[in-house]
Structure formats: C-alpha cells, structure tokens
C-alpha cells in the first residue's frame, strides 16, 4: 500500500448486521485520492441508480484522505458522501475536528453503511475492531451528551464521535451529524440518512500510526507552511478571531446575503449593527482557542456564556456561515440569539446554513403576509426578532408543529404549504450558503451546476473572486470556462486529500501537490493534479447523470443571481449571465449542455472510469 493510508475500508450492512472489511487498493488511492473522490467511486459502483436516499439500498460513506492521521498540517478533514434526500442527486460535505484522523488511526480509511437497522444502533470502532452496538438507550440524547455517555460505556475516555441528535432521529432533511461536539459535515441531509438507518453514532478510538512515504519532507513542508501562515494577514485574523472575523465586512461588501438576499448590508443592517455579528463583539465570551487535528492556525474558540437571556454555558464561537445565516440574512443583530442558535444546531444536529436560510424564507413569507402567525404556531417572526428565531428553531429541532415542516428545508416547506416559492433562495432545493454570487459571480455556476449543489467550498472562479484575486473584471463573463474548470479540479484534489481550505489560503502555492508526494511516495505534478481532479469531478457528475439529472433540472433562485438586480448598495445593478458562465464551463469540461453527458473521449483520456463509460455509452 502506498503511504498515507490505513489500507482498509469497512462495509456495514445494518439490515443483516454484517461487517465486511475490504482492502483499499493502490489503484483506488492513486486515482481517487480519498474523501469524496474515493467516496464517489465506491458509491457509483455499489449503490444502485435510482435508490431511495432514505431506503435500505442507500449507502452513506465516511471517508478520510491521505493527510488525515498524519503529521501534515491542516490534515483534519474527512468527507461524508451519499445521495441527497433534498436534491435527489450526489452529495458530499466535509468536516474538521478529530473524527477523521481518529478513524484512520483506528485502521480504516473509510466506513460505508447501507441497510436499515430494526432498532437504534451505533458503530464502535476500536483499533481495528468494529462492532454494531445497541443504541436504544441513547436515542434522544444530544450530540454532546452521547459523547460523554459512550466514553463511560466503552471505558475509552479519548474516543471520538460523530452522532446525530433528535433532528436526525426525526429524519428531518436538514439534519446533520456533529463530530467532536461542534464540527459538522452539515450540508445535504446526511443526518436524515443516518436517522433513516437508525444509526445514532459512530464512535472511534485509534492509537495506530499512519505510514507515510517521507516523514522528513512533511516536516519541511510544515515549516514552509507555518512561515507563510505567520506572515499572512488572513492567517493572523482567522487565528485570532476565527472565520467570524470577516462577518461584519462581508455584510457590508455584499459578500454576505442580507434580508433573505433582498437587502443591502450598509443600508438595511447598518455599520453599527453588523459589528454585533462578528467575533470582535462575541469574543468577550472566549475562554480558550482550539484547533482541528494538525492545524497550526486554530480558527475555533470555546465560549462561556453565563449572562443575558440565553445563558447557554460552555459553547463554541459561531463560524462565519452560522453568524451570517442567523445574523445578516435575518437582519438579526441580537448576539445572544445567534449564540443560542449555534449551540442548538450543534446539540440537535442541524445544518446552520440551511436552518438560518429556511427561517429567512419563512420570515419573508410572514412579512409579506403569505404565512400567517397561526401557521407559525403563534410566533411573531418579524425581521430581526432574535427571540422568534430561537423559538422557531426550537420547533425545527424538536420536529414539533410548524417546525416539523420547516426542519425539512425551505423548498420542502414551500411545496408542503403550496406558497412562498418566489422567496426561496436555493440551488436544486438546497439552501444557498453565505456567499453572494452577485459579489463573486463565479459562485453562480458552482452553486447551480456542481454535482453537490449550493456549496461554497468547491473552488472554481468564485473562490478566486471571493479572495479578491480575480484575473479579469469579475462581471465580464466571456472566456471563463478554462480557469473555472482548472480551479475546480484543484479543489477536488485538495478536498479529497482531507486538507482544509483555510490552510491553502495561507500556504505557498502548489504545496499540496508536494504533500501528496511526501505522504504517498508517488510523483504528483500540476498535470497529475488536473487529471485527478477532473476524474473526481467526472465521477461525482456521472453519479447525477446516471440518476437521470440533466443540466436543465438544476436550478438556482433568480434573486441570488441578480434577476432582478438590486437597486442600491455595493451590488446595485449586478445581474449575472448564468447561462454564459455555465456554457463556458460545460464546454471546457467537455460535458454536453443538453444531456449533461461527459464526452466519451474525455472519459477515456482521464482513465479509470470504465464503469461510467459502460453506463453512459455501452460496453
């Protein structure tokens, strides 16, 4: 086995209670790297097309990358892969913390779970030994309580855990698992999948060592990365105040959506109020800083909130996405309510982005008289009403009253209630994240057409524009395809390695290719990165094509792309040519814009996609 891998994958069938180990081959590792790269390959091969995401044939994977569990800086992220019960297509999300590295040190590169258990269970993986255990007594416990429960039950105080809370047990579509008590692979409904399988948690303990090809080179690379990080202003800002350091400025610049994407930060929110949603304000509760595995930056922080109307006690600093979703998007500068919502989402296991955005949708519907106070169980859901936001989120977490509908997301609620569709801000039914395509227009293509819709962590042109590094006028949509594709393939590899994108922001360019070489021992240059990234992208895309999803089925809400354009503020007049951006990308990717099919010669040239060629073009 090449370096950087444990060499084994675990396949669990909860219907018949079987566990099967399978070797992770060099071929799979070299060509699909890890994370959602390997995840896409395995699910494509093993999960039947057309499977019900919440049914027994549905498979969910928890997949590490070659950096996890090693000394490589920023190597703390693992991927969760499945078919989304929201979009009906491919879904991956990733999360930091310690769960991924611990799984790897316990002897597994990946765990794939299929079937449905007849009673609640958890998976206990302890240094290479995996067991399915009864979780009936743990059903109803929140994601932090169960961590403590299982430490006692297993006698392993250092175990790491990924668990669903009550929202996942309710099979609410916005549910997600939480690992390490506060980190979330949040997007696309993975908590609902776990709940549908009655899989309450995966607990792991690993004391092994992950072999790597060149430990000395990893140390040298870490030194280089550490040096550039220390000199980077964004490195200093994230290290001191986390991603929330940027929340106020993003609300003013137009990066953060305001008032369900219909407002203007500087006009509707104001300079004084935007500061209340940032870390500079909230860090008065900070008790200590923390970091994910092998992260020298440390963007996380623990808070202790014992005052005010929501004394949640020990909690965590809200990330940028969370602070924006429960802040500027709702015109809410009630800091206490934002901290409370963040804690509730962690305990119950619900995606903060989609939860905030679903409330934003309901808020606009209420403000426009489309939803009544009675329909919202008597809650006066006016703009900026922090207490009402907490109250409605509580109902979503509990699956009670209107919350039982809203916990499935805004698109589900609009369909269920038969109204309010005009105020949805979604991509293929998934709520948009907190970066506005009118500010970084490349995101319009990514949100609408990435195989996992509505994501801000998929690279592409938008990532360059968000970083203020655009190569041409960002509102000039001509000739964008090649660069958009190249930047996307780059991120496919980065994510599949299990590296953090914030690490890349503060690292020397191209350093992660060198990390792959040092970890695995294989040569990996820019051309390898492009081809490998293209392979992973096409694997994920092919999953959707096989499901019968065509480009015309992929939607994005009109307001988010400036149709109509805002009339005031920094994004006034911006209306994105989404069609041209998409056609440019499809042309560069060699994907047919009508059927979505990748060209046969493209798949043949990329290699290792034989099953895709067979499915799409015959033998």
């Amino acid at each position: 086995m090449i370096g950087g891998y444990a060499g084994k994958m675990l396949f669990v069938n909860l219907t018949d209670g079987t566990l099967e180990e399978q070797e992770l081959t060099d071929e799979l590792a070299e060509n699909f790297i890890g994370g959602y790269g390997i995840g896409a390959k395995v699910l494509y091969e093993r999960m039947p097309a057309g499977a019900d995401p919440l049914g027994p044939d549905s498979m969910i994977g928890f997949v590490t990358g070659p950096s996890n569990g090693t000394n490589a800086f920023f190597g703390g992220r693992y991927s969760v892969v499945h078919k989304s019960p929201i979009s009906g297509g491919w879904n991956d999300s990733n999360s930091g913390g310690y769960f991924g590295p611990e799984l790897k040190k316990a002897g597994y590169d990946a765990v794939f779970v299929s079937g449905i258990s007849d009673k609640p269970v958890y998976l206990w993986i302890n240094d290479g030994k995996a067991q399915i255990k009864d979780a009936t007594h743990l059903w109803g416990r929140d994601t932090k309580e169960i961590w403590e429960d299982l430490k006692l039950e297993t006698g392993e105080p250092k175990l790491r855990i990924l668990a669903i809370g009550r929202t996942g047990e309710n099979v609410s579509l916005l549910a997600c698992p939480i690992n390490d008590g506060h980190r979330a692979p949040g997007r696309g409904g993975s908590g609902a999948i776990m709940g549908s399988k009655k899989l309450k948690a995966i607990a792991v303990r690993g004391t092994g060592t992950v072999p790597v090809a060149d430990p000395k080179r990893i140390q040298d690379l870490n030194k280089r990365v550490g040096a550039t990080m220390k000199a980077s202003p964004i490195g200093k800002a994230f290290g001191a105040m986390g991603t929330g350091s940027t929340t106020p400025a993003s609300a003013l610049s137009g990066d953060s959506p305001v008032k369900n994407w219909g407002g203007v930060g500087i006009l509707d929110f104001g300079i004084e109020n935007v500061q209340k949603v940032g870390s500079a304000e909230m860090d008065k509760y900070k008790t200590r800083k923390y970091a994910c595995s092998r992260c020298p930056l440390g963007c996380g922080a623990e808070y202790e909130v014992n005052d005010g109307k929501y004394p949640v006690g020990k909690t965590d600093r809200p990330e940028y996405e969370t602070a924006a979703a429960f802040g500027s998007t709702l015109l809410n500068y009630d800091t206490a309510s934002i901290l409370k919502c963040n804690e509730m989402c962690n305990q119950y296991g619900i995606d903060t982005i989609s939860a905030g955005m679903t409330i934003a949708w309901a808020m606009e519907c209420y403000s426009e008289g489309i939803l009544t106070r009675e329909e919202l169980d008597g809650i006066d859901l006016t703009w900026g009403n922090g207490d009402a936001i907490v109250a409605i989120l509580q109902k979503m977490c509990d699956g009670e009253g209107c919350g039982a509908i809203l916990a499935n997301g805004s698109a589900y609620a609009a369909n269920e209630w038969g109204k309010g569709e005009q105020f949805l801000q979604t991509a293929s039914g998934i709520e948009l994240p907190m970066h506005d395509p009118r500010f970084a227009p490349g995101l319009a293509r990514t949100y609408q057409y990435d195989p996992s819709p509505g994501r801000h962590v998929k690279g592409g042109l938008g990532s360059l524009q968000m970083a203020g590094e655009e190569k041409q006028d960002k509102y000039d949509y001509r000739g964008t395809g090649a660069l958009d594709l190249a930047l996307t393939t780059h991120t496919e590899v980065l994510n599949s390695m299990g590296l953090c994108m914030f690490g890349e922001m503060v690292s020397p360019p191209g350093v992660h290719n060198e990390y792959i070489e040092a970890l695995t021992g294989m040569t990996f240059n820019d051309a390898d990165q492009y081809t490998t990234g293209l392979r992973i992208l096409n694997m994920r895309h092919a999953f959707n094509v096989r499901e019968g999803i065509k480009p015309s089925d992929l939607t994005i809400s009109a307001r988010a792309v400036g149709k109509p354009a805002l009339t005031a503020g920094p994004l006034a007049g911006v209306s994105i040519d989404t069609d041209l951006l998409a056609r440019n990308f499809f042309e560069s990717a060699n994907w047919d814009f009508e059927t979505g099919k990748p060209a046969r010669e493209l798949l043949e040239n990329i290699g290792h996609l034989e099953e895709v060629i067979k499915d799409l073009y015959g033998a």
Partner: protein, 82 residues
C-alpha cells in the same frame, strides 16, 4: 477637495474604523487615492490596498471611479467570509 475614508473589517490593527480626511486634487480616482493613502501606512499594510474593495457613499465602486468633494470611502478587506 476633501475625501473622508475609513477601513472596515481589515485584519491589520493599524487600519482602523476611525474616520480620516485627506485633501486631494479634483478628478482623483479611487485608485489614485489608494496610492496617496498607501504612502501614509507601513508597506506590509499597504499591500492589501491593491486588492481592497470599496463603498463610496454606501454604493459599490470600482477603482477607476472618480471621486467628488465630500465623498465618504469605505475601504473593505477583499476576502469574503469563511
């Protein structure tokens, strides 16, 4: 003419929210203003002015925009969110 300006959300301690004023010739663009301001701050901090985005009187503005007497310029850190 007099232009008022301040920084917002810039993770460099010396670049603060405090409003400042500068006198510049009429017809000056934002890009030219950044060169004037860049002379007054340390080199490591001035690098970011090449990437910053701007609000002028609460509206978005490009570097080529010509400023008018009394304009208020907000200089924003270019990196979005997290």
């Amino acid at each position: 003419m007099i232009i008022h300006y301040y920084y917002f959300g810039v993770p460099i301690p010396s670049l603060t929210h405090e409003k400042q004023a500068v006198e510049i010739p009429s017809g000056t663009t934002i890009d030219q203003l950044m060169k004037v301001i860049g002379e007054t701050i340390e080199d490591s901090a001035s690098e970011f002015l090449n990437k910053a985005s701007f609000l002028v009187n609460k509206m978005g503005a490009k570097r080529e925009a010509v400023l008018k007497d009394g304009d208020e310029v907000v200089i924003l850190y270019p990196i979005g969110g997290g």
